[in-house]
């Protein structure tokens, strides 16, 4: 069982997904140099202007440049989704690993906690958390991770449960490796594949969740160029300035689409039975 399998680039979805991911990261890194305006530049006299020479994608509320916000939005969505996925991944893998390896009461307790969190409306949790902690990029990450870790925990636990009876794990144990070492050296690397797939799907999930929080007014702080916030703002002006919601919406949709296709391709590649002819 080797965790890394040859990634099939000939799949359409994979190619598209990779291209999107690359473009996304590139835009996020270089947004300040690509943008024609400053993200906080306010121009009340040109509020909700249609796309034109001065503002290629038009302007939004307070006359902010939509193109600039879409480009900077890549950066914000990258930060939020990356850290949300990272935090929930670390939390979930650790707790899931512990649950799977320790078993017994620890396992039972952790899994019931997962049940509670899964049954609790996720958006409500996020709403409460941002209400309590106040709106900031960091708190949005916390809010998303609060439930986000459960998926990883279940997955890791399942993987650990099936893997821990395998010969090489038994051998390591016989050779005197401690549980922590066995988890990190033997169990997790072999569970990495499915976890990576999970992360690929979680990334766009976090982007959409952040957008929903913005709709309820509890997303990123005002003025932060996030796609979700921009779509929310534009929805209000659908009848007078449809472009405000359209362009960030496209950026959001394409990114989510790309990562989902990438996830599908990765999953196919990870599955031993899905090896090509």
């Amino acid at each position: 069982m080797s965790g890394a399998r040859r990634f099939r680039l000939q799949s359409w979805g994979a190619r598209f997904g990779l291209a999107v991911a690359f473009l996304w990261v590139f835009t996020a890194l270089f947004a300040p140099w690509l943008s024609p305006h400053a993200p906080d530049a306010i121009d009340l006299t040109h509020e909700l202007a249609r796309p034109g020479p001065g503002h290629l994608l038009g302007t939004g509320e307070n006359g902010i440049d939509v193109l600039t916000h879409v480009l900077h939005g890549a950066r914000v969505s990258l930060e939020v989704s990356f850290f949300a996925v990272l935090l929930s991944g670390v939390l979930g893998i650790t707790l899931g690993g512990i649950a799977g390896y320790a078993g017994g009461l620890v396992d039972e307790g952790l899994m019931r906690l997962v049940d509670v969190l899964l049954a609790f409306p996720g958006i409500l949790l996020a709403l409460f958390i941002t209400s309590v902690l106040g709106p900031s990029l960091t708190n949005v990450v916390f809010a998303l991770s609060f439930t986000g870790w459960t998926g990883y925990a279940r997955l890791t636990r399942g993987q650990v449960l099936t893997l821990r009876e395998r010969d090489y794990v038994q051998a390591a144990r016989a050779l005197g490796s401690g549980p922590g070492r066995i988890l990190v050296r033997h169990l997790l690397p072999n569970a990495a594949g499915p976890l990576l797939v999970q992360a690929t799907f979680a990334l766009p999930g976090a982007i959409v969740a952040e957008a929903s929080l913005s709709f309820l007014g509890l997303g990123v702080p005002p003025g932060t160029p996030s796609w979700g916030a921009l779509v929310d703002q534009g929805t209000q002006y659908l009848l007078v300035a449809p472009h405000v919601a359209l362009f960030p919406g496209i950026a959001l949709a394409v990114t989510v689409l790309g990562f989902n296709l990438l996830g599908d391709a990765l999953r196919d590649a990870m599955d031993p039975r899905h090896q090509g002819p």
Partner: protein, 299 residues
């Protein structure tokens, strides 16, 4: 047992949050407008002067006896009738959304699996994923503008007839459709590789029969479980959808209750959400066992 744990856990969790969130019903109700008022009396009237465990106990007792009333003075309406009125609307919406998502997802998923790796696959997946990528709070108004204003086919919002259900169900269902389509594709791919499919092919059955009769039936099983698990997400999504379409369901009830800090209604609604989720999953497990004899035999 685990259902009971989930319910108790949800109650504790929501109470903890209500305890942490600043503001209480009296403050929020009085707002910016009122002049000096008898706050202490109002607080006593709704039991806010009691310690948290006592409030929790009163809540549980009142809920059990059906005497639960809102935390909003002076005339505290009973909570259960309001919940009872909202529940069918939310169930109707989620079930309709689920139907919409199945209708959209199954053909797309099967098609993508049958032509794996081709542009058809990518396109089918692309179309379905578009659903998850479009935020509901945007999709809702766009659908209203298109179908209610421009085409004048459907009403804008409210819940007076079946026609009012179409747009919210579609708005809510698309995101699940994306997920279901991918699941269908994955389970179909798995099923298509099973020995019995190979055997069926070898027997010379037409590809269509093999696809639908053999592979699809077996692919349905895991889908049932997924549907149950996704029901929670659907309920959560209903909160946003209900706000957009002024749909008088539990999400609307919950958002209003949070705004007003109507603790009792918030707790009761969250419990009902959790209960629905747990019930649906219990039912799915049962359905799964019923549909799949191997599971039945094992348990």
């Amino acid at each position: 047992m685990s259902a009971a744990i989930a319910l108790v856990g949800a109650l504790l969790l929501v109470s903890l949050f209500l305890y942490l969130v600043p503001g209480d019903p009296v403050d929020v109700m009085l707002g910016e407008q009122a002049t000096q008022v008898d706050r202490a009396a109002l607080r006593r009237a709704v039991g806010l002067d009691m310690p948290w465990y006592a409030q929790l106990w009163t809540f549980t007792r009142d809920l059990a006896t059906g005497e639960l009333r809102t935390s909003l003075p002076p005339f505290q309406r009973k909570v259960l009738p309001a919940l009872g009125a909202a529940l069918p609307y939310t169930l109707l919406l989620t079930v309709a959304a689920m139907a919409v998502s199945l209708v959209l997802a199954l053909p797309l998923g099967v098609m993508a699996a049958a032509r794996r790796g081709t542009p058809v696959d990518a396109a089918a997946m692309g179309v379905s994923v578009a659903g998850v990528a479009l935020p509901r709070f945007w999709l809702g108004p766009v659908l209203i503008i298109l179908f209610a204003l421009k085409l004048d086919w459907l009403p804008v919002s409210g819940a007076e007839s079946w026609r009012h259900l179409v747009l919210p169900a579609f708005t809510l269902g698309t995101a699940l459709a994306a997920f279901l389509a991918r699941m269908t594709r994955a389970t179909m791919l798995e099923a298509l590789r099973e020995d019995y499919v190979t055997v069926a092919r070898a027997k010379g059955l037409s590809p269509r029969v093999v696809l639908w009769k053999h592979a699809f039936r077996n692919a349905l099983l895991p889908l049932v479980t997924v549907l149950g698990l996704e029901f929670g997400a659907l309920l959560g999504g209903a909160i946003v959808t209900e706000k957009v379409f002024a749909w008088p369901g539990m999400g609307t009830l919950l958002l209003t209750a949070i705004e007003k800090r109507d603790y009792n209604t918030v707790r009761a609604t969250v419990l009902l959400f959790t209960f629905c989720y747990v019930m649906v999953n219990t039912l799915t497990d049962a359905a799964y066992a019923w549909v799949d004899p191997r599971v039945r035999r094992r348990s």
